[in-house]
Symmetry: C2
């Protein structure tokens, strides 16, 4: 059975997250499954992604894979799927991969970025893709604190309830905060993340900058292994999965 | 009478262009006039912009000005106007300017940028703000042709019917095409532009790259002084007014 890998872009606001849910809830996994079966005219067992994205989270290049009976025309598949999603999801590329390829297990690096619009005026052209914070943020402080997360740590303090991860220990390869005009961007690279981990990191960095958390550095919050020590969970719509690298 | 200058951002897709029109048509000038009168509780004569934008064209930083009887609280004005526009228009800044300030006459430099999404997959996250072209564009050729427009020229070939400009001669200070990943950006700086001039320049650059125009360079098309010598008019939604500089 040919194993197909797709790179997809989606607008998180159009779906209730990645994972298929019972009932009428419109999820990316559910809709993609349905559309692929329509286009390919065959039953597909399961469409797997490099990882779930929460409701509202965007993806520039999520990686998914599924098995089919017969090798399809990839160009036709790409166009048909994008066209049926009417601008809510697009297939950026499609390829046949070895049977052994698994989008979660084989992922080596994932980059997420979180965008904050940091100015008095609310968002217009970036609306739905940024978290609006009027109060000027201390990007230098946030970047210093963000960088202190690089390495292997137990991220229990930055994990939402209901996380199904086998281990709370994760390795962070890159973690930085930069300013691009009135946009403040948090960029993080890791092999995998706990539930809402990136959003809680961003919320905590913002709370440190706004002095709503005082007396604790990010590293101290990590060491406390307590969700209550960290800050708020930043809203989903500022977050985007940028890319997934495979070995 | 205090003269107020606002810098505003707007989503062109929400309006039928800048200029007030008779009837029910929702324009930026018309809506801003109405909202300002509501917020300030006084009649305003006219709200003038640095220039009109066509229906669908966005602005990151359009400059407008209007006169009022009494000096308003600028912070309150800014917040109230943005809030009434619910994410379709935002006031980025507000200030009192000398009585003599005129947003069109005093504009020294205006930058527009035009964005093309140049990949097979249709737009998702940049939807409504890019022109989607699947065919790979020759950015090097387009940039060379774009740069040849720098200087003082008669832009009759790049002017839409119905233009009310006093002269078809315009000076271009900067004109370039660059690639940023799968986005191809045309950036142009001038003192003023003819009707749909930037969109016709972009359409012509694309037509040259796609070999739909052959045997003529941009400079030769300029010299022909004939709209028919130039290419198509690129769609409005890829265009954005980036900033206006004043002396």
């Amino acid at each position: 059975m040919p194993n197909i890998k797709l790179v997809i872009e989606y607008d998180g606001s159009a779906f209730h997250g990645w994972q298929t849910q019972p009932g009428e809830v419109r999820t990316i996994q559910g809709e993609l499954h349905r559309v692929l079966e329509t286009v390919l005219r065959e039953k597909i067992k399961v469409v797997q992604a490099s990882g779930r994205t929460d409701a509202g989270v965007h993806a520039k290049a999520q990686v998914v894979a599924f098995k089919v009976e017969e090798q399809p025309d990839l160009l036709r598949l790409t166009h048909s799927v994008s066209s049926l999603f009417k601008g809510e999801l697009s297939v950026v590329s499609a390829e046949i991969v070895p049977d052994s390829f698994h989008p979660i297990r084989d992922a080596e690096r994932k980059q997420y970025s979180y965008r904050i619009l940091n100015r008095a005026a609310p968002a217009v052209l970036k609306k739905g893709q940024v978290w609006h914070i009027s109060e000027p943020l201390n990007v230098e402080l946030m970047n210093r604190e963000a960088k202190s997360l690089i390495g292997v740590h137990d991220f229990t303090s930055f994990m939402a309830a209901g996380c199904e991860a086998l281990s709370t220990v994760k390795e962070i390869f890159e973690s930085e905060v930069v300013r691009d005009g009135d946009i403040v961007i948090y960029r993080v690279v890791g092999k995998g993340f706990l539930k809402q981990m990136v959003r809680i990191i961003v919320g905590t960095l913002v709370d440190i900058s706004r002095a709503r958390i005082v007396g604790h550095t990010m590293r101290e919050i990590v060491e406390l292994k307590d969700r209550k020590a960290a800050g708020i969970t930043a809203p989903a719509h500022g977050l985007s999965l940028d890319f997934v690298l495979y070995r």
